[in-house]
């Protein structure tokens, strides 16, 4: 199975490494060549330098026969646009898009795009942590 990871920052590189470890054939895309170093010296997957919206770059990275696409550049809007391309033009159902803004993440998930908002996850985890602490303190008092 082939996966494309667009945006090879902290999140993208870790996703690429993990998918590769569990057996996926992974190609990472980043406009910055230095991002390749995040994948380590022994990276055996593919790496294409270029902007994730550039159709030539995506073609070179093999989007036409990808089974899954993870979009995690540092721009929410760039991610939403690339994600819609993968979904609508290439028909890749397993297209997952990182969107930091929870409001936009919710709206686009209503529109049928698979969005993940790390911000929402952090908000829930932090609130839960405080609540759990308060409950424990309350029980002890």
């Amino acid at each position: 199975m082939k996966a494309l990871v667009i945006g090879c920052g902290r999140v993208g590189s870790a996703v690429a490494l993990e998918l590769h470890r569990v057996g996926w054939e992974v190609t990472a895309v980043d406009e910055n060549e230095a991002a390749l170093s995040r994948l380590g010296d022994r990276w055996a997957g593919g790496f294409v330098v270029g902007h994730g919206m550039d159709l030539d770059v995506l073609g070179k990275a093999g989007i036409a026969d990808a089974d899954a696409v993870v979009v995690a550049t540092d721009g929410d809007n760039t991610n939403l646009v690339i994600g819609q391309l993968a979904q609508k033009q290439f028909g890749i159902e397993a297209t997952v898009v990182r969107v930091l803004d929870p409001a936009r993440a919710r709206l686009y998930s209503e529109l049928g795009l698979w969005t993940i908002s790390p911000t929402s996850t952090a908000i829930t985890a932090l609130t839960d942590a405080v609540q759990t602490f308060a409950e424990k303190a309350g029980a002890e008092a």
Binding site: M53, D54, N77, Q84, L85, A103, R104, L107, L111
Partner: protein, 220 residues
Amino acid sequence: MYIVIAGGGQIGANLARSVHALGHEATLIEQRRGRFDRLEDEFEERIQLGDATEIHVLERAGLARPPDLVVAVTGDDEDNLIICQIAREHFGVGKVIARVNDPRNQHYFDLLGIMPTISATSIILAMIEHEVPEHGLVHLLELRQEELEIVEVQLDETSPSVGKRVDGLDLPPGSRLISVMRGGRASLAEGDTELRAGDQVLAVLERGKEDALRRVFLKS
């Protein structure tokens, strides 16, 4: 009419001034603090500070009314796309206009159905092609929503249509000649107009008819 303009650069600010002068109500959205400060004295309550791709910023600009028209003219194509999508899908805005900064991104606007789009680069390129002598077929205007385009064809001695009357041409269905420019003078294309080498012919045609029209006027 109520219009929201996203992007307070040269294009956005001048657009806001112009539509206001025409008697329309317009709100401008600008995210750069420095630029906003300079424009605020002039636009007062008709400008909002913020990222126009954030839903709460759009709400502040009155998107919930909703406006009759949203114009996205920021310097970032992804932002312009997302602004138009949110305006349409979330706020139910009926009409949007988007600026395309990099013509290579036109594909995304077409794919996501964001139209009409305006690209200064594409317009200037068409003008340049129009100025080049013996330019073959040039796109002058694309009416995306109507799925029509207006093209200009320059005829030379090798053109298969030279010496023929307009009503004797085998024009593809879905195309029509508008005018013939000869020696610096334009006249409407009538059935009895005879075409000559050097003529510049304007034609209106449906999308996809271009190759057929090319075969009528240009040597293959």
